[in-house]
């Protein structure tokens, strides 16, 4: 199963400090919903303010993107403009 890694303290507030979570979801959108069911509020926070790195490649607002079976999924703050 894909493993979600939470490196920042803001998201860990939703998980009670848990920093690694295995999910059954196979897309980013389904992962967002699954995280919200398990940690209420986290899904919304991820959807609005976080980017998702799948095996090192960063995706923003790409809810249809597939999660490979054993992928490492890292939640990081969305990258803004400059």
């Amino acid at each position: 199963m894909p493993k979600v890694v939470i490196s920042g303290s803001t998201c860990r507030e939703f998980t009670g400090g848990i920093s690694e979570i295995e999910v059954t979801a196979d897309t980013i959108g389904r992962m967002v919903r699954e995280l919200d069911q398990r940690f209420p509020g986290l899904g919304h926070h991820v959807a609005e303010f976080m980017a998702v790195a799948i095996d090192g490649v960063i995706f923003q607002d790409a809810h249809s993107e597939k999660l490979p079976e054993n992928a490492e999924i890292v939640l990081i703050p969305k990258i803004g403009a400059g």
Binding site: V5, I6, S7, G8, S9, T10, E13, E48, F49, A53, D55, G56, V57, I58, F59, Q60, D61, A62, E65, E72, V74, L75, I76, P77, K78, I79, G80, A81, G82
Partner: protein, 673 residues
Amino acid sequence: MTYIGNKSDLRVVGTRPDRPDGVEKVTGRAVYGADFRLAGQLTGRILRSPHAHARIIKIDTSKAKALPGVKAVMTAEDLPNITSEEAFVGEGPTNFRDQSLNVMARGKVLYEGHAVAAVAAMSPSIAEAALALIEVTYEVLPHVIDVEEAMAPGAPILDENLFTAGVDPKPTTPSNIAKKIILKSGDIDAGFAKADVIAEGRYVTAAVHQAYIEPHACVATIGADGQATVYASSQGHFMIRSFCAKLLGMEISNIRVIPLEIGGGFGGKTIVYLEPVALKLSQISGKPVKLVMTREEVFRASGPTSGAVVEVKMGAMKDGTIVAAQAVLKYQAGAFPGSPVQPGLMCAFAMYDIANVHVTGYDVISNRAKVAAYRAPGAPISSYAAEQVVDDLARQLGMDAITIREKNAAKAGTKTVYGVTFPEIGYEAVLAAAKSHAHWKAPLGKNQGRGIATGFWFNIGGESSASVFVNEDGSVSVVSGSPDIGGSRASMAMMAAEVLGIPVDNVRPIIGDTASIGFTNVTGGSRVTYATGMATVQATEKVIEQLKQRAAMIWDISPDAVDWKDGQAVPAGANAGGFDPLSLAAIAAKAGKTGGPIGSEVSVNAQGAGPGFGAHICDVEVDRETGQTTIIRYTAIQDVGRAIHPSYVEGQIQGGAVQGIGWALNEEYIYGA
């Protein structure tokens, strides 16, 4: 899709054609925000706070309203009092309530220059006279400017409802520290225990302004039917539409924003200051209203980047392996939360493969103008500090400054402190280019010194739209939703020309307004050439499919039997028939008879942008008597991927270097002098 970055037989991409906006700009025909005017427009002016921190007791506008020629006067009471709502718009995370309060102060002024009222009048002199007639009664409050003084117990509190986020247990008293963020990997104490040498330092950077040549400017008009049009210079006209709708309580469909030429942005034009005010003044007066900031207003009331204090400590083994890196970042946010401390944390040590990292960031408000994005927001500040300490480690170890960076360089497989494992990246190639460059080995003269620093930025994709149309004569129009601040029109034209196989001179690129092209994120984050380019290439490919179909109709053969080659439709093979090639112009001439106009629009949410790394080498000479510092030589090495128009890419790098030199040597905000 055509992957231009991987193609080896490019004809247009990588060349240096004249820029399509060049003649207009050098002859003065280009219309910037301050140039634009509408018939019957009024002149707007904004009254700004003379105090750094004060309670607004009363604003009496009656005398200003009574002045002949004054058509509208407004304060925050004329704007919706919106509640706190966080969102990701424009430059990054924002709070609509804070944006509203920044556009026009309500209850308190939080920095010198904070807008408190605005007027629209028949002439500039009447507008200025009206401002002088507005009576504001203030209760002056203690203020705080310095970031560490703002963090200290007992500091004047700007917002009684602000409690530090990211702290456990949750605080019960308000603070100017909006957020504390910690990123960590490995075991920092164990890392330092392994170190043979330790270097540390405290680095202070000044708040500096993006200093775009063109001030903020706009003209807004709103009719009796509620339909509004804003003409503005910005890094994102869709961003302006979003903010105006939210801050004024309007429907997005009732606002059209038309982009004008932009005279520099560098991140500072990714938020609004004037546009909601101009719209409200227009609504009150029933006339178009023009607002233009003076240079002084730009500095006082629009966002610079953060000033900061950064403390860094790093440890390395005798062989140069860096085993621990620790940093504390204290970033000024200005009067409202939202400094770029988060990317500062993520970028500080991103160039290195370090097992044990611990970085702490503070987002701190103080009585300064709200900060705005500035080229890789947050990253230069933390990188500056980290790179000094890497140099100190090298000196202690007797190592070359590039060699220690090579020894610890991030590469494919390196896990960053923010958790992402790098894919293939170019940092080692950048270092190799720096080391082999003649500059690195050149002798230095008396009182001369050489420094090197490296840096990282993520790069992003995002939402972009582009359309490609074939005109009646076979020329091509490319319309995109991205304001052109760094040559994107040229890049879009070149990519369309490359895919079509035609000269770039046959392609005219323009920027569409919010009603004529699909939604597009702001121009920034090094995303436009990548994301809007992706939309342009895909739209062009759809046009080619249409061109092949039209050729097939003309020849009365199957579309599958038509190829597109060198800007022409050709039979796919001998069996397709012996037809002469059909040029773009020939197909365009018959478009009406083969199905109508030829064109396509594509919107994308581009993903997968690769990170960028750079290294700058600088030689300076210092007059030991006066301290005068002169740049002797400067070399920049940047991993740019595929340069669509190399001159623009070079310009971006040169501009970044010049802004960095200014930041290091010449620029700062000085309060209370």
